[in-house]
Amino acid sequence: MKKYLLDYGIKVRLPIILFAAAASFALTYYITYAERTGIGYQPEQPIAFSHKLHAGDMAIDCQYCHIGVEKSRIASVPAVNVCMGCHSLARTDKPEIQKLTQYYNENRPLPWKRVHRVPDFAYFNHSVHVNKGIVCQDCHGEVQAMDTVANDKYKNIGQVNSFTMGACLDCHRTAHEKFPTLPNLNIGPQNCSACHR
């Protein structure tokens, strides 16, 4: 009797338990992977800025605002005075613009919620990518189309790609297949010191 019970425990129960545990772990791992790497992350911003309106409908070049992107490793979020370059005159009747003007006039910091983030130990460099002809959308998605439905107007931009080391290496290894239109592109460096220092 005792022996049988022990046998049953080892032969049947234990594998089932292990399988169930492993399966639920694997399932959770894959289901939540995208979310864990930030895909679809759409934080609420202090000002309901729409990339679709600016970059899409009005076709303002990305670099009109993100001026650092081809000079520096940091693309840079535009200073408030860049916004005010137009909005001191344009659409001053809109509540969101009035909010912006208030930040500017009161010289208060404007805390944009961060959407994309590479860890501090990886020194990603915007300028080397952009100057090689890789465009913003290749990593950030179709930002110029990122506005949302009317009832959700505060959520207008989200992360579309995972920003993991795997994603970096994926492109670096297969640069030519990924970017057939850029014939002069070299294979990206795959050594550690390219990003880590």
């Binding site: 520096s72 979020v77 408030v80 805390p111 994309h116 460099n125 050594n191 550690c192 010191s193």
Partner: protein, 1058 residues
Amino acid sequence: MCAEEKAMDRTEDMKKDITKDTDGALKSGNTASEQNENGYWRSFKELYNDPSFSKAVKNEFSPEALKAPDVSKMTALNRRRFLALMGAGAAVAAAGCNNYQDKGVIVPYNQKPEEVTLGLPNYYASTCSGCESACGILVKTREGRPIKIDGNPDHPVNKGKLCAKGQAGIMNMYNPERFRDPMLSKTQINWADADKKVVDALKAATAAGKEIAIVTHKIVSPTAKKLFDEFKLAYPTTKVYSYEVFSDTARKNAWMKSYGKPSMPVLQLDKAKVIVALESDFLSTEHNMLEYTRLFTQNRDVMSGREFNRLYAVEGAATVTGMNADYRIRLRTDAIEEFVMCLVVEFAAKKKLSGFPANLSSNTLDHFRTKYALNETAVKNLVADLDKYQGEAIVYAGDKLPESTHIAVNLLNDILGNTKLYSQEIESVDQMPLSAPEELGSLVSAMNSGNAAVVIHYDTNPVYNLSPEYGYADALRKVPLTVTLTEQVTETSELSQYVLPIHNQLECWGDFKTRTGFYSMQQPIIAPLYNTRQKEAIILNWKEPKEFNENLYKDYLSANWEKSMYPATGTAASFKKFWNSALHDGVVYVNEKPEGTAATFNAEAMASTGKVRASNDYVVLLQSNNNVGDGRFASNGWLQELPNPITKLVWDNYAALSVQSAAELGVNTNDIIDISIGNRRQSFPVFIQPGLADKVIEISLGYCRTAAGIVGTGIGVNANVLIAKSPALSDRIYNDAKVSKGSGTYELISTQEHYPIDSDPLLKDIQFRRGIIREGTVEEFKKNPGFLKHESHLEMDPINKPQPYATTEYTGYKWGMSIDLNKCTGCGACVTACNVENNIPIVGKDGVKANREMMWLRIDRYYYGTPDAPSANFQPMLCQHCDYAPCENVCPVAATTHSTDGLNGMTYNRCVGTRYCSNNCPYKVRRFNYFDWRDRFRDSFQYEEPLDQMANPEVTVRSRGVMEKCTFCLQRIMKERQDAIAENRNVEGSNVTTACQDACPAYAIEFGNVNDKGSTVTKYREHPLGYSVLEEIKVMPNVTYIAKLRNINEELHKKESH
């Protein structure tokens, strides 16, 4: 002895672990040289094969380093950790309510300054006011924060180079312990009240006819000079006193007496074929060291094809200059004047000059040589060379030598026609002579008698700096109003009523003039961090009280320039344009010539020289140093931790003694000796220093500040108390010292045996034959440039051995470095530059003691020869970025790997801290973070605001438990790659400079693309004198050393018998 008694007790216990450094030395004076006749050695332990050294060689990680941490010594649950735990607890609690995807915020500028691009540095020219040399600096800023100070390449004196103190000076600005508000008797007040009280007192003092004293360091700024003059007009009872602990007053006074001119012409050291340095450390600790190092080493360049100069050093101390000399003559310092007079007599006789008093010297040179047992060959060569190179040689006396010796040297140079080497075009300019000791004496008596109503310390610390014989501290207590303008707490500010905080040099406006022909400009790099004011502005505001604004002194300065200097430049540009370009360049050239050239030697001056005779007592030399200066850098941990170039000691000063003298006194390293000079006495720990003249004691000034904040207080021993008010010889040489063995011991910490390279016990002694250091003579090189290559001194014949690893081709660019040992003087500027560039933490004396120092670049110092008269070789040692790096093979987690451009990379986030890599590194250049040093050192001092803002944002701040090492300044390589891609061109090796290369005043370091056959670094690598250290192990290092050539007539020590 001011270091705590407790510390001494503790060291008693510790000492049991430490082998007596010189036991062997004391017992067996002669056998020493037999054992290692042909070898290089780093310490007595190694020279005498002390078992502890071989143990150290065997165990890379000393038992000390591997000891479990002592919990009681930890900062334990300090405020920071408590808060961290609290914070972590709160964060855990709050996590449930937060979006776990939250990535924080990005806060852009509200109005971005036009010149700032995030991620790109801006550079601003300014002037360093760390000492009176006033070198031009170029400050690198990121997003408005200064992160690195380098020399300004446009500055005609320092030409883009900067000393260790200047480099590390950036930490002073970020020092969390700077005063932030004005204080009255240690309570915070506001500026308006302070100004009002002081101005009232100034007016009252003027009305009562009482003295107002301003005590300042040397005034180097013409506009500040003008300001003081105007202040004196506003308050006519004002007197301005200036002093420097390390000054070259003796040289200038001697020049005045010899040639009747107050200003000295600039010495063109590059034109000298023969240089005789008399107790002078012009290559390291004396004034103008950057320029002299450049001029000296540019004639020791194997690439240039120029004839090597020859350096003789006659000295009692063991200085960097002496150790770099071709011939070094050991002579006690107080006999140097007699030596010079012997030379004068010798050459006067040779040249049949008349008109010299018969009693000029009591000795002939031969007698003198025998009396002091001087090295015969060296003296003979010296005389022959001075004779041969008349008009192309220079005898240069050290700052600290007495005025009479300087006159004797002037006379000798005059006889030999060497005055030609003094420039006709450029001379030094003094805004204001330093106060004579008598003037300072009269200030103190005015303070005592109540005649001085107000004393203003203008960024000075006379309580600590001045000789105790003045009784300055006591006198200060009697002054009705005492004001100290200072950045940080000092001994003087502790005794002052008003302590007014001033700007750091990086927040200041100013102009400086040290020589004819140019001005050096100073502009603020950052807005004032605190409620401080520029010291000139404070004085200006008191001169004519009105509402203060930050631009007060700036307006005064530019007005003065518009009125006085701008018209003299003769420029056609408008003043505004001129002013902006002056600030942009940092240097303004003006067309001016010295008035009149040096006339003939004034024969009357001879009467006052040649009188100094050596005593039978000990000579005490009070030395300047690369670390704390006169004490003003005491709170700078980087400098405290920078090893002394010769002794490699850190965090301390000590009495250095020769082997012979130590035996006489019966003391050993770490023992205490009591020194008394007259009625001034002090006790010092002993360090036995090879190469010192017998009966000479060398002690660094500037240590044991009693009020210098958490880092600098109580470090070392105060030697200022030995300074006399009116010294017989000079304020830094005393030849009437009585020395006796004291009680107790004190542990000194030296890095000289840390990270020894030659670590395989099977290869004992082979280290000397392995050619880690290679040297030859200029003669040998001329006869056969490849003489070192052909020398079969390697037992394992590396050249013909097959390469054990598969070869990798490096197409494209590949990085390499060359270090010319002919030029390296060992000064340590590179080490400091590396510390600043790469965010190297300070570990403290305890950390260094446990072999845990973090500096990526060290300078190995190898002695050669006997302990009495060694020569030294300096070898900067850093990661060699081997093609077949042994560290990479053993890393279990692939945290250290090779890149396609030949770099050995270190990925901190992969490292798990096994330390296998360090074990397997033949060069011992890897450093392990046993702790988070920023947290551990001095109660998290390095994490205090705003010191945490100082870090270079392009370099990771490493955490506990990871290995790190030199990256060849990877961040700078990546910047060049970024620029190359942006400009659509190839990566250009010459566009990348490493931090150490930028700093090296001798231009010893070259860096670049070794696949580019035209590059400088390739030329050095392929030079016949180029070699790699330990090349027989075939790891193919990418740092090439250029073997040192000694410019001597004789054959260099025969290397090996086989």
